[in-house]
């Protein structure tokens, strides 16, 4: 790679932004909805219990899968955009 070029820096910043955004969602569904915010969501019933319980046992896992595929897809686009993708 061509060291400290302007584009390289922008590429890395774009990656960091994407990671940061993804990790906010990651934390929100697990530490948020499933644990700390569960009492606030207790009014929303899901099959004999509440939404927080669903997030804790299934919802967060489904979100994680979505996040990784989203990241991989976006990042591959960014790779191409900055011309750092592999041939």
């Amino acid at each position: 790679m061509s060291g400290h070029s302007y584009d390289a820096e922008k590429y890395w910043k774009a990656n960091l932004r994407l990671i940061f955004g993804s990790l906010i969602v990651w934390a929100l569904v697990s530490y948020g909805f499933a644990i700390l915010l569960r009492p606030m969501l207790s009014g929303i019933a899901v099959g004999g219990t509440d939404l927080g319980f669903w997030f804790a046992q299934q919802g967060s896992i489904l979100t994680f899968i979505g996040l990784i595929f989203f990241y991989a897809w976006r990042m591959n686009k960014i790779d191409e955009q900055f011309g750092v993708h592999e041939e």
Binding site: L36, Q57, F64, A72, H85
Partner: protein
């Protein structure tokens, strides 16, 4: 045909399958399969990672812990999946670009220091051996039941099988064998769950059945379960927890531990391209989620089935007579993992939560204490028997449980032995060691690891999944922070990394040993392992996250107080950030 014979056929058959695939794969091009370099698709690699990853803890132990703890043990589900998000975004693509084969090697090169590499080897060994203890505990339970011996004998048989399996070994590296193991374990886990979900809720998808209506009572399944267990003095299954701090820290520990465990990271070194490392993490999680979305259903349904077996006429009527106990209780009594003591001499099995709050009710019914002790690690294995499923389903789950335990234990032993022979001996003590000597060192270190793990596995410091959770805490506190900082910061230098790893590891181990016994030797703990004695209510299982924070902080402070890393190291960090130019992963 006896159940014993069926079990032998299924377990033996699955082993023959793995060996056959290994031979077939070798007959092709050894290098392709072994290094998994040329053209292994990310989906295939994902399934292989799934088999590597899901161990006795996931397969045998986890649902039992969720069944016992309900909502509060959802931590295992989130923790062991959420780590893949961190892997995909923070580690895997960059380590793939770096293109070396072991984790200590990356740490040694990035921090331009033999000492850093050695400390990484120590961290790796401590985390991996702890992990193997958990596998041995789980495999021991499985063998004791299916070979109908007591649990110590089961453990010893498991140790011998794991050792032979790991030494035969290269087998482990073959992606397609692991794909086969994944198939065996996922089929074995899912089929009984589908049957049971159909019986209880009429919904063939267990993950949906969990939130459906219980056919017999017309109530939602979880409502029915809550009603039964609270009638017997247990906590409600879906109840919220008071100690949210501990729950958050425990989940975080499992997540960053997942991202820091060397035997999982290694899998990402061998994909063809950096982009594939990202996709592989996603596919791995898809395959893992197939089990993890089913596990909470297995947990709640098994708990419900267990309670209705003991109280067939409802919780307000008398429980079953000991003489009328179902066959599976008798079988598991042989292993010593179910114990019955008739405390009030009425010949019936009273299963309830023996707490002061329930004292009055228990006395009114003439109960003199809980009479049935069920080891939580047996729940998944006993599940098909509790639900009266046919013999072949029981044989299948035996094969699945062993596939899970063996594939992971063998992978860990290989990680340990390569750390000792490649990183420790060849990398620093004796660089001129012959290939033969290196192989010998690898085998000896495997044997030592397994003896230690078996000895400690006989009196494990918790149920299989809990022991494994300790290993995650150790990996979280020692390896993850330096790996991440090695990529995301150019400023962290050799001194910072070494100081960070050592303080993170020492802090975490000390906190664990104070409650679990020094070196996990029973009876050597300084404080009783219960919530009243934990600092701020943080359990030893959750301490890894704090250890990681300490590791980050120490590495940062020490690095800033000392000199910058050399220019070529800063350029190395720069280069791992950009995918272009990732060559083939090199063999070592």
């Amino acid at each position: 045909m006896s159940q014993f014979a069926i079990n032998i056929i299924f377990v033996g058959g699955s082993f023959l399958l793995y060996i056959a695939i290994a031979i077939w794969a070798k007959a092709g091009s050894t290098k392709d399969f072994y290094v998994a370099g040329g053209g292994v698709h990310p989906i295939t690699n994902g399934a292989a990672i799934g088999a590597d990853w899901m161990s006795a803890a996931s397969f045998i132990s986890m649902a039992g812990l969720i069944a016992a703890g309900g909502y509060s043990n959802s931590t295992f589900l989130m923790g062991w999946t959420g780590g893949y998000v961190l892997l995909a975004m923070l580690l895997a693509p960059y380590l793939r670009k770096f293109g070396k084969f072991t984790v200590p090697e990356f740490i040694g090169d990035r921090f331009y220091s033999k000492n850093a590499r050695l400390v990484a080897v120590i961290c790796l060994i401590v985390a991996s051996v702890t992990y193997v203890i958990g596998q041995m505990a789980g495999a021991g339970v499985a063998f004791s039941r299916f070979l109908e011996v007591d649990s110590t004998m089961g453990l010893i048989i498991a140790a011998v099988v794991v050792f032979v399996y790991a030494v035969l070994g290269g087998m482990k590296g073959i992606t397609y064998t692991q794909v086969a193991q994944y198939c065996v374990l996922i089929v074995a886990y899912t089929i009984p769950a589908v049957f049971i979900s159909m019986q209880l809720t009429g919904n063939p998808i267990p993950g949906l059945g969990l939130f459906s209506t219980h056919v017999d009572s017309g109530m939602p399944l979880l409502t029915k379960l809550n009603q039964i267990i609270t009638d017997l003095g247990f906590n409600s299954y879906t109840a919220d927890v008071d100690n949210k701090l501990n729950m958050v820290l425990f989940t975080l520990t499992l997540m960053i531990g997942t991202a820091g465990l060397p035997h999982v990271i290694i899998r990402f070194f061998t994909v063809p391209k950096v982009a594939d490392a990202r996709w592989s993490a996603g596919w791995a999680l898809v395959f893992i989620a197939l089990l993890y979305l089913t596990a909470p259903a297995v947990a709640s349904m098994a708990r419900l089935n267990l309670m209705t077996t003991i109280y067939p006429e409802g919780t307000q009527a008398a429980p079953i007579k000991y003489d009328d106990r179902p066959n599976w209780v008798k079988e598991w009594e042989i292993t010593g993992l179910i114990k019955f003591t008739d405390k009030n001499g009425d010949g019936r099995i009273q299963l309830y939560n023996d707490t002061p709050a329930f004292q009055d009710q228990a006395e009114a019914r003439g109960w003199k204490g809980n009479e049935l002790v069920v080891n939580r690690d047996i729940l998944v294995l006993a599940n098909p028997e509790i639900a009266n499923l046919p013999g072949w389903v029981i044989g299948l789950i035996a094969a699945g449980g062993l596939a899970a335990a063996l594939s992971t234990a063998a992978g860990l032993l290989l990680a340990i032995s390569s750390a000792v022979s490649h990183d420790l001996i060849k990398g620093s003590i004796n660089p001129d060691i012959s290939e033969k000597g290196e192989l010998m060192a690898a085998r000896v270190s495997m044997a030592v690891a397994i003896v230690v793990a078996t000895y400690l596995g006989a009196n494990p410091p918790g149920f299989a999944a809990q022991v494994v959770a300790l290993a995650f805490g150790i990996a979280a506190a020692s390896l993850f922070p330096v790996l991440m900082m090695g990529i995301f910061s150019k400023r962290i230098n050799n001194k910072g990394a070494v100081a960070g790893m050592l303080t993170g590891l020492a802090f975490t181990l000390c906190y664990i040993f104070v409650y679990k016994g020094w070196l996990f030797i029973p009876g050597t703990n300084n404080l009783p392992d219960n919530a009243a004695n934990w600092v701020l209510g943080i359990s030893p299982l959750s301490i890894g996250a704090i250890g990681a924070v300490i590791n980050f902080a120490v590495a940062f402070l020490v690095s800033n107080a000392t000199e910058e890393p050399p220019v070529e190291i800063q350029e190395l960090v720069e280069s791992v950030r950009y995918p272009r130019g990732a060559g083939q992963a090199q063999d070592h």
